[in-house]
């Protein structure tokens, strides 16, 4: 199917879209916390995938290549915003107050809570705790240090505890 799409077969590419759109949209909506933005980014991801199919050499699974492209697309769209927020981030590194242990029985509550996290905390939390990426890979994608990633993750978990505490 990938080979056909690479030759310009839009029907084959649509089959790839149908097979992967849920996973790509899931990544985009969790990374952005915004359904409308995630829909636009999902479309951008598939258009970019179409444009770049010639660079996919089959060394990894197509899904791996596509999901990495999706993460890259979301992060590129947010880097400008992060740059503007850098000063604010540096001044907001005060430790979070301890929060009680919440009752995380409802996955939907957790989804909504993730959407309320600050941008970078949410990205690190989704990539590390949901997608299973190591801190070193996240740091490279975000253009930051591993220690900073760990700090974002710790803050994300603390904030989730506050939001979800009974």
């Amino acid at each position: 199917m990938v080979g056909l799409a690479r030759e310009g077969d839009a029907g084959a590419f649509r089959s790839l879209y149908e097979a992967h759109v849920g996973r790509v949209y899931g990544l985009c909506v969790r990374l952005t916390g915004n359904e409308g933005e995630a829909e636009e980014l999902t479309q951008d991801v598939f258009v970019r995938a179409w444009e770049r199919l010639s660079t996919f050499r089959g060394d990894s699974a197509f899904s791996t290549w596509l999901y990495r492209l999706a993460v890259n697309q979301v992060l590129m769209a947010r880097r400008g915003r992060w740059r503007r927020e850098r000063r604010i981030l540096l001044s907001s590194t005060a430790p979070e107050a301890p929060a009680p242990t919440p009752q995380w029985d409802n996955a939907m509550d957790l989804e909504r809570a993730i959407a309320t996290l600050p941008d970078r905390c949410r990205v690190v939390f989704v990539l590390h705790d949901i997608e299973g990426w190591p801190h070193a890979d996240i740091a490279v994608e975000m253009g930051t240090a591993v220690g900073t990633c760990k700090a974002h993750l710790f803050r994300a978990r603390r904030l989730l505890r506050k939001v979800l505490a009974p």
């Binding site: 649509r14 849920g22 660079t55 029985d105 591993v146």
Partner: protein, 206 residues
């Protein structure tokens, strides 16, 4: 261990990926520190729920029509990317081969990379981020992408992969000067490429 060190080890502790002597030290700390114990229980609860989240989420509407209308041209490489891609691919191949050569079963931390190398990596990373932010318009703003930057995207992706692999290798062997040189070289190539792209998109000649 203090609280910060314990928190840093909570994930491998929960996953059972930790040396016995470290486990003992952490459990001694947890027995005395209520705050870290709450962190541990919260991390365990969170881990259970995140594991149950579906990876796939169905969008509210079909997105295909908006994609199909943008698939005007079959996938192809631009004239510009035809010459620059092999250069990046060759560089990435060297990086990947070298990273594999140096791969060892040990694990490490990025903190072990010498401070001067970390400083240079951060400086290159910041320069690349600044250039990329300046080159790429806000995708929600509806403006047209710069031609050279669009053509360079596959190359940049290849360089990013080479950076990730080189970095992983250096984390395993942080004092290895060849790996330090390799990682910094790939970072430098990325910044040089972005500068070239900026010149082209500003109206310079190819």
């Amino acid at each position: 261990m203090n609280c910060a060190e314990v928190r840093d080890h909570l994930d491998p502790y929960i996953a059972g990926h930790i040396e016995q002597h470290q486990r003992v030290v952490i459990e001694e700390h947890l027995a005395e520190c209520g705050e870290c114990k709450v962190d541990l229980e919260a991390a365990r609860s969170l881990r259970r729920v995140t594991a149950s989240l579906p990876r796939s989420v169905v969008p509210r509407r079909s997105l295909w029509d908006g994609i199909e209308s943008r698939l005007a041209m079959p996938p192809s490489r631009s004239r510009w990317s035809k010459w620059v891609l092999p250069i990046a691919a060759a560089l990435a191949t060297v990086a990947l081969a070298t990273a594999t050569w140096y791969e060892s079963p040990g694990t490490g931390s990025a903190d072990a990379i010498p401070a001067e190398v970390q400083r240079l990596i951060a400086a290159y990373g910041e320069a690349a981020n600044d250039l990329q932010s300046a080159l790429r318009p806000d995708p929600l703003g509806g403006s047209t992408e710069p031609v050279a930057f669009t053509a360079a995207l596959p190359t940049l992706e290849t360089l990013d992969l080479a950076i990730a692999e080189s970095r992983s290798a250096l984390i395993r062997d942080p004092d290895n000067p060849a790996l330090q040189h390799l990682l910094l070289s790939v970072h430098r190539k990325k910044v040089e490429l972005l500068r070239q792209v900026a010149t082209l998109d500003a109206g310079g000649e190819e």
